[in-house]
Each structure stands twice: as structure tokens, then as C-alpha cells.
């Protein structure tokens, strides 16, 4: 990994720092938060920033800093799980489809196209209303929506690998499709998969927050970035940090992912800007 990362530029380093910083804060949140993020205190409601409450308190007297620190746990967890599953499944299927080709390719790609043609948010809303808004449901929903996109991208990359010598050689040795895909094709598209991972993650975390914002994600009183914005945005002028805090954290994480995938793309020669859309 180290060798791959050299030459990715300072932006890449900043990106990694932002990501790791957010992940670390989220992991340590239960220990480093000054207060219980859901404990209300009527005597301390709507206070401005102070030594006791660095970002102030919200209308129930909950500490905004503690809520912001804890607010990433849900989003990051879902983002990590959903992106990992979607990219893993998409990469495997994409390679398999590229390798097998023929009618299998046609059928899978038709379904992929069909899913891609439904607006992401509609597909998500439908899945969430079918199964409720539990964490695994949201993970599943994101996987359903994003796996096809990954399949499409990885398939494109894998097709150029397919005709390379060692794949043909493995085929000639009589190896089965599974091992060929895993051992020969997948490692050769790993750069594309890596860039895809960082980029998907940036969209997934924004999408999760949007879902929470629309009332389909995390449930109150749980601390969650999107939910905090939804709860406090009308009171932006009275408790600015209850909205700005979670947005700053969320944006820094997304910026980190963008910078990282840019840097990776530059280093690995995968053109990230080619992928243009949420």
C-alpha cells in the first residue's frame, strides 16, 4: 500500500488525515464526549458556547459537541458497511460478468441498467418504507442501489483485462471461472475498485444524511448529523452550532474522501473525474 501511495500529493495526505480524524473521533466518541449525547438538562437549554459546553446546548439542554462527536457514528458505520458490501459485490459481479460475457452479461447488465434508471432517492425511500428504517435496512437499501453502479464500472475495467495473456493462460490451464475472476482479473482492476470505493463512500455518507434529514434514517433522540440539521435548522439563529457543527463534520469527511480518491486516481492513473455523478 505504501508504495502505491507515494506521489499522490499533499491533497491526498490531507484527505487521509480528514478521514482518519473523523473515524477516530467517531470511534472514541463515547469516551471523549464531555456529556451523554441524549441526556437532557432543562436548566441548561439553549446556551451559547462556553467553557462547560464548547458548542453550546440545544433546546433540551443537550451538549452539542457531544452530539456532534457521536453523530457520526451511525452515518460512518452505515457508510462503511454499505460501501464495503456494495463495492465488494459489485467488483466480483462486474469481473464475472466481464469474464463470462454472452447472455449472462446481457441479462445482468439489463437489470443493472433498469435499477440505475430509477432515481437513487426513490429506490431508497421505497426500500426504507418497505422494511422500516433500521440500520441494516438502510445498509441493504444502499447496497441495492449502488451495487449495479459498481458492477458497471468494474465490468468496463475488467473487459480490457480479460484478453490479457495471463487470463488466457489460466483459461487454457482449464481453471474455472471463479478462481480466474478472483485470482487473475480482480487484482488487475484493484486500482479502479479502490478509487470507486472512496468515491462511493463520499456519496453514501451524503445520501445517509439526506435520508436522516428527510426523516427516513436515524430516529430521535439519537444523535445523528442529518437528523441534527433537520431538528435545528429553523433555529439556526438561536443555536447555530447545532446545525453548523454536524455539517462541518460531515463536509470535512466528504472532502477527505474526495481528496483521497483524487489522489489515488492520480497516482493509479484512474481518471476520477470521469465518473461524474452522485
Amino acid at each position: 500500500m505504501k508504495a502505491t501511495l507515494r506521489g499522490a500529493g499533499p491533497a491526498f495526505t490531507i484527505g487521509i488525515v480528514l478521514i482518519l480524524g473523523n473515524v477516530l473521533l467517531a470511534l472514541l466518541a463515547p469516551w471523549i464526549s464531555p456529556y451523554d449525547p441524549v441526556a437532557s438538562d432543562s436548566a441548561a437549554a439553549l446556551q451559547g458556547p462556553s467553557g462547560a459546553h464548547w458548542l453550546g446546548t440545544d433546546m433540551y439542554g443537550r451538549d452539542i459537541l457531544s452530539r456532534t462527536l457521536n453523530g457520526g457514528r451511525y452515518a460512518l458505520q452505515v457508510t462503511f458497511l454499505a460501501t464495503t458490501i456494495a463495492v465488494a459485490a459489485g467488483a466480483l459481479l462486474g469481473c464475472l460478468v466481464a469474464y463470462l460475457g454472452g447472455w449472462f452479461d446481457d441479462v445482468v447488465m439489463r437489470v443493472v441498467d433498469a435499477i440505475l434508471s430509477v432515481p437513487t432517492i426513490l429506490a431508497l425511500l421505497v426500500v426504507v418504507s418497505v422494511l422500516g428504517s433500521g440500520m441494516w435496512v438502510i445498509v441493504l437499501a444502499v447496497v441495492v442501489v449502488y451495487t449495479p453502479a459498481v458492477i458497471r464500472v468494474v465490468r468496463g475495467a475488467a473487459r480490457s483485462v480479460k484478453s490479457l495473456d495471463y487470463v488466457t493462460a489460466a483459461k487454457a490451464r482449464g481453471e474455472r471461472a471463479g478462481p480466474i475472476v478472483v485470482r487473475e482479473i480482480l487484482p488487475n482492476v484493484s486500482d479502479v475498485v479502490l478509487v470507486e470505493y472512496a468515491m462511493r463512500a463520499s456519496w453514501v455518507v451524503l445520501l445517509i444524511s439526506t435520508l436522516s434529514f428527510l426523516g427516513f434514517g436515524a430516529n430521535p433522540p439519537a444523535p445523528d448529523w442529518g437528523l441534527m440539521v433537520a431538528e435545528n435548522r429553523t433555529a439556526l439563529t438561536v443555536v447555530p452550532w447545532a446545525t453548523l457543527g454536524p455539517v462541518a463534520a460531515l463536509a470535512s469527511f466528504v472532502i477527505g474522501l474526495h481528496l483521497t480518491s483524487d489522489g489515488l486516481g492520480k497516482r493509479l492513473g484512474v481518471d476520477r473525474a470521469m465518473t461524474g455523478v452522485k
Partner: protein
């Protein structure tokens, strides 16, 4: 590239950013800063309304199936009080007072009630109100095809054939069983009087006798009403009202702050938003005192709460004053588990003890020391979650361990309420005492959210209806309240003020129960 053009572009950019930042600062400071937020006013502004003004009211977008038929369960609440009248209405003390009926009386056994109608009342289409319209309206409410929620209240004591017109302005109700509180049952907002023969069309025409007549209406959309010059109590202060549907609460508040509307209806502002609104130069907050009646039903049929000792412990374990302080930031009154609002003439003046140690002992006695269970909430109302959190926090002292569990708000009333052992809920106040106790606490009533069943309590309700002496009847209702406090399964931690956002120009706003005072409300 020439320096000047680069500078030019840069300064345009800088100018643009300055404008944006300036506007944002204006926005922030225009609403007051975190240090100087205004307190929430205690009363709405009063004063002289200017002539010739129209008010703009934003309401939550209802279902597209909503209708102006007052008897329906999907009636468009904001319009009803503007365009219709009832025979009788409820005042702030819970007393039945005249509306279309000028006087009423009953036979000594309380079985036959005679209502005299006000003379010279006209419908918006010019027809004169007669007893026939009242007979027709009651028939429409009692018709099973209408599916009116009030039919469940009236049908057990009244058959359609029991309502007759003895002359053009006298209606006689022959009840199937005595009911001293019958007039109060006609104060429900399903009982607005519609013209005879109008049931099929009333959902769209909205022809009534109210201070405003309908000029346009789209279900879940826009609509307008105009002052009705021939209204029996004189024309209203406003020339007209425009109603708008805005689904999102924040969007309604923003519309108010931006001066696009004058009042937000059916929206209980949360405390932080209320302070934003109160600090705005164009808008302020009025309160409808004790308008929301919050409850924590303990399902009496569940294994946890079938034991009255456990129910009693759940009550003794918390102090309603603390709940009001935390969940409502003081904007309400403690309920002490009595569902009858403190302002009502029939309310029982009794503060039950607060004793967490006794609660702990009772739980031990019941064999469930250290009770652990979820308490369900949702974002259906802005106070639900604070209430659940505050209650869970309060009962910790008695060793009760509740996990606040949030459920989806759109299925809360179908999947959680009356299904899970412990949840939070609310009702609008403004029900007559008889209806309140019968609907929410009598065994087997479809609104009995705690499924509590107490034969002695049910008997008290029957006795009260037979008792024609007002003083003695009040005593029976107060005995019934005491039973609810001591044995009941539905806790009433508090009554919350509804914080209503309105323009600083609005004068004489007053809302009670299910109705605005549309006659006096105006703009300065």
C-alpha cells in the same frame, strides 16, 4: 491576461461574496443572536383590527382525500370554524354555551331535550336556518355511511328517528337513555350544522352559517373564504382568509419569518423555534394555554401493567412538575395524572403524592423490582420524544429502567399506540368532561388507549348522566377523576401550551379546543 481584467473578476467575486455574507448576517441578526433571544410572550396581542384586511394562514398539508364535510373523519379542520356553526359550543371553562341554539332544556328524567334555535340565521346561499336543517345534520352524522367519529359517541343514546322538529325553530331529541350532559356532546367539531339535503355536495361547497363563506377550495391545497355580511353575530373583523397547505414544519416557519403568511395553524412550535420566531421583527408567538393533553398510556392488558400496584408505582415514581420543566421548558401545567384540564369547572383539585421510595416498595411487592422495558415515542408531535426522555429520566430514582425507543411517525398510531405496553400520546383538550371520560377511559371505548377497565368507574359515568343536579353531577365526575388518578392506566403528566407562530400584525387571536375565534381575529 491583463491585470485589470483579473482584478475586475476578482472584485466581482469579492463583491458577490460580501453581498452573500452581508445577507446572511442580516438574516442571523434580524432574528436575534443566541444571547439576546426574546422570551416567549404569554398572551396574544389585542387591539383594533384594521378594516379590509385578508389573513394568510398556513396549515399542514392534509391527505388529498380531505373534505369540508364536518361529520367526516377527514374534515379540513381550519375551515370548519370559519364557515359553520354548531348548536352549542364549549367555553374555556368547559361549559356548554349557545351558538345556533339560543336556549335548551330537558325533561326532569334527562331523556328528552328541546333546543330553541336562534332566529334570522342565514346560510351562505341565502336560505334561512330552520329546525329541519338540524334534524338533517344529525341524521347525516348518525348515518353509518358517513363514518363519522362522533357517531360512536351519539349512536348509543340517540337514534336518527329520535331527532324531530316540533316547529320551524325547535328541535327535540328523544334519547334512548337519560343523559344530563347531552348538550355538551353536540359541541364536538363533527356537529357543525349543514343545510338540509346537502350531504352529497357539502364536502366541496362548504355552505354553512359561519362568519365566512367559501370562495375556493382544493383538498390539501389552497383555499379562500370571504366575510359573510349576513352572519348572525355581525360580520367578522377580516375581509377574508387565504389558506395554504405547507407540508414541512420548517417551511411553514420560514414562510412566516419571510412575511409570506400571517399565522401557522395546527403546529406546536418546539421551544427553540418558538424563540427564533419570538425574536423576529415580523413574527411572534402566541400560546393556546394547555391546548395539548399529553398522556402515557400503560396498556392494562399487558403483563406488565395488568397489576394495579405496578401502575400506581409508575405514577408515584415521577413528579409531573419536573416533566413540565424538562419536556415543555415550563410552557404548560403539570397534570398529576388527572386528564381533566385544571381550568375546567369540573376539574378535581387534588395533587397526588410524589414518592419514588413508595413506588420502589410497590414494585417490590408486585415482584417486579427494577422494572425494565421500552417506552415508545415518535416524531409525530414535537414533544413526544422529550416527554418520553424526561419520564424515563424521572423514574430512574424508583429503580425503573426505561429505554426510549423511537418508532416511525407515519405508522405510530397504527402499529405502536394501543399495541405496545408503554408509549406516549396526546389529545387536543377542549372536549366536554362527559365526552372526555367516556371516550378515553370507559371500558371498551374505541379511544380507550390504555384498555383500562374499571366497573366502578363505568358505573360513575352512568350515574353522572342520570344526575340532573349540576352540583351533584360535578361531584360524581370528580369521584371518577379520583379513580383515574388512583387506579387508571393512562398517565397524564402534563398539559402543554400550544406555541403558535403568527405575524406581529395579528390581533385578538384566540384558539380553544378545536376552534379559532374567527369573528374577532384581525390584522392591525
Amino acid at each position: 491576461m491583463p491585470i485589470s481584467s483579473s482584478m475586475g473578476r476578482r472584485s466581482v467575486l469579492v463583491a458577490g461574496m460580501t453581498l452573500g455574507a452581508g445577507a446572511l448576517i442580516a438574516g442571523l441578526s434580524g432574528c436575534g443572536s443566541s444571547n439576546g433571544v426574546a422570551d416567549i410572550p404569554l398572551a396574544a396581542a389585542t387591539g383594533n383590527a384594521a378594516r379590509g384586511r385578508r389573513m394568510r394562514i398556513a396549515r399542514p398539508a392534509a391527505s388529498a382525500a380531505e373534505t369540508l364535510d364536518p361529520a367526516s373523519s377527514l374534515s379540513a379542520y381550519e375551515y370548519l370554524g370559519a364557515i359553520y356553526n354548531r348548536l352549542v359550543k364549549l367555553d374555556q371553562q368547559g361549559t356548554t354555551v349557545p351558538d345556533l341554539a339560543s336556549e335548551w332544556s330537558s325533561t326532569p328524567d334527562g331523556k328528552t331535550w328541546t333546543f330553541k334555535l336562534r332566529r334570522g340565521v342565514r346560510f351562505h346561499d341565502g336560505r334561512v336556518l330552520t329546525a329541519g336543517d338540524v334534524v338533517y345534520t344529525l341524521g347525516h352524522i348518525l348515518d353509518p355511511a358517513t363514518g363519522s367519529p362522533q357517531a360512536g359517541v351519539l349512536a348509543p343514546i340517540l337514534e336518527p328517528s329520535g331527532v324531530t322538529a316540533s316547529d320551524s325553530h325547535t328541535v327535540v331529541f328523544a334519547l334512548t337513555s337519560p343523559n344530563a350532559e347531552f348538550p355538551s356532546l353536540l359541541t364536538a367539531y363533527q356537529c357543525y350544522i349543514i343545510p338540509a339535503g346537502s350531504a352529497a355536495a357539502i364536502g366541496r361547497t362548504g355552505i354553512g352559517t359561519g362568519p365566512f363563506r367559501l370562495s375556493s377550495y382544493t383538498p390539501a391545497g389552497r383555499g379562500s373564504v370571504e366575510a359573510f355580511a349576513d352572519h348572525f353575530a355581525g360580520p367578522p373583523a377580516l375581509d377574508g382568509i387565504d389558506f395554504y397547505s405547507v407540508q414541512d414544519t420548517s417551511a411553514r416557519v420560514n414562510a412566516l419569518l419571510a412575511g409570506q403568511i400571517d399565522l401557522i395553524s395546527q403546529t406546536n412550535l418546539d421551544f427553540a423555534t418558538a424563540r427564533v420566531v419570538a425574536s423576529s421583527p415580523v413574527a411572534t408567538v402566541a400560546r393556546a394555554k394547555d391546548a395539548q393533553w399529553y398522556t402515557i398510556p400503560m396498556l392494562a392488558t399487558s403483563k406488565e401493567f395488568s397489576d394495579p400496584l405496578v401502575r400506581q408505582a409508575m405514577k408515584l415514581a415521577y413528579n409531573p412538575k419536573d416533566i413540565v420543566a424538562t419536556a415543555l421548558q415550563g410552557n404548560g401545567s403539570p397534570g398529576w395524572d388527572n386528564p381533566v384540564p385544571p381550568g375546567y369547572a369540573d376539574a378535581l383539585d387534588y395533587t397526588r403524592p410524589y414518592d419514588p421510595e413508595q413506588a420502589r416498595a410497590l414494585l417490590k411487592q408486585a415482584g417486579v423490582e427494577g422494572l425494565r422495558m421500552p417506552i415508545y415515542t415518535s416524531s409525530y408531535d414535537s414533544v413526544f420524544t422529550p416527554l418520553a426522555v424526561a419520564y424515563a429520566e424521572a423514574v430512574k430514582q424508583a429503580g425503573i429502567n426505561l429505554t426510549v425507543t423511537s418508532a416511525s411517525s407515519d405508522s405510530y398510531y397504527t402499529e405502536i399506540w394501543m399495541k405496545k405496553p408503554l408509549s406516549v400520546s396526546y389529545w387536543f383538550t377542549g372536549r366536554p368532561v362527559d365526552q372526555l371520560l367516556n371516550q378515553v377511559f370507559r371500558s371498551g371505548s374505541s379511544y380507550n388507549e390504555s384498555a383500562w377497565s374499571n366497573a366502578a368507574f363505568d358505573q360513575l359515568l352512568v350515574d353522572a348522566r342520570r344526575e340532573m343536579n349540576d352540583e351533584r353531577r360535578r361531584g360524581i365526575y370528580q369521584d371518577a377523576q379520583r379513580l383515574i388518578i388512583e387506579d387508571g392506566a393512562d398517565m397524564t403528566p402534563m398539559f402543554g401550551d400550544r406555541l403558535v407562530g403568527l405575524s406581529r400584525k395579528v390581533v385578538n387571536y384566540s384558539e380553544f379546543g378545536f376552534e379559532f375565534d374567527y369573528l374577532k381575529i384581525g390584522l392591525s
